[in-house]
Homo-oligomer: 209 residues x 2
């Protein structure tokens, strides 16, 4: 399952992208993630979205659930109570995700599997029994999810992946997408829009030409 | 094998650490990496250092090779031509490295295994036949190493790990060490020196108190 919010998304990219571009970019990243999930061994793929906007052109097999609550509200109140089978929650802004990552996680035997994002985020969460858990996204969510799982006595595993950790929030994160995102729609989008790597004194950044 | 340069190391941390502190910090990170290697299934552990400084208190089983050339020079001219068995090169500034990462890589069957660091770096490299390869560290080394390996027709694998990708170069990288480095000497060092996580508007940074 991929939670999705298009409206005014990726504000920290405002210095390099207009609002319309940011909304287009997050939609393309969502498509990359959804396509990866469809290639994986996951049985079903669902997008949990604030609004229909951005989900109209999903492949037909993708289920779209609408909820206008915030991220934790929509997951905890509208989704988790209804899910009777194991669930993977992945963020829409990790276009480097590989089908292998999903397959690896599906083979782990924890009650919960957590995968760290940069700066304390939780980029991927596997819940064997979704009804029993409540998420706490935002801020240092990785530590909070770990704490909740341990408090509940759940068998907890951490999945170690660079590709999953690399969510795209800040300008410098675009470096990773340009470097490692070959073949993804979101990297093509960046190239089309004039984003390029810039190396200065051995340090790598991004510029727009 | 861990290449090590202590003198005026980690310049990009100059805003938060004195030169003496940076030299102490890189030495403690080296010790974390060496201890992890000793816990892994690697047969031998070697440090390739510019000077003896910082390597005096290594565990006895660690071999120290001195070379005053630069990073690629010391590896390509002094080390690789002498190595007749498979070799893993890991950087000294990745204190989140786990013994499991090393064991995973030892079980892969590529002629070369590369593990990306943030921003195009190569944080771990496995060479089945070290004599045949020459490194090109600095800048976008990951792409250059990939290119060389493919040009030489080597069977190339990529090892996907957040812990290996998280080298400590910039102030914001300290966030990862504070968050995920529990039990490491380098995290203890940061805590002792007053480094703390700071959360503002849901964004996480580091401050020194």
């Amino acid at each position: 399952m991929v939670p999705f919010k298009r409206e005014n998304a990726k504000k920290r990219l405002s210095g390099m992208m207009s609002r319309a571009e940011r909304e287009e970019f997050i939609t393309i990243m969502l498509n990359d993630v959804v396509n990866t999930l469809l290639q994986s061994e996951a049985d079903r793929v669902m997008v949990l979205s604030r609004t229909p906007a951005g989900t109209e052109h999903m492949p037909q097999e993708v289920e779209v659930m609408l909820s206008d609550k915030d991220l934790n509200g929509s997951i905890n109140e509208d989704l988790l109570p209804t899910v009777g089978e194991p669930l993977i929650i992945v963020m829409a802004d990790m276009p480097l995700l590989k089908a292998q990552n999903i397959n690896d996680v599906l083979r782990m035997d924890g009650d919960i599997v957590l995968c760290p994002g940069r700066k304390g985020g939780t980029n991927l969460m596997y819940l064997r029994e979704p009804k029993k858990f409540r998420t706490a996204y935002h801020g240092l969510s990785f530590m909070e999810h770990l704490r909740r799982a341990q408090e509940m006595g759940m068998k907890t595993e951490i999945y170690d992946s660079f590709y999953v950790s690399a969510d795209i929030d800040e300008e410098e994160d675009l470096v990773e997408l340009l470097l490692h995102g070959k073949g993804s729609g979101s990297r093509e989008y960046l190239e089309r829009r004039g984003f390029r790597l810039r190396t200065e004194n051995g340090y790598v950044g991004v510029e727009r030409v």
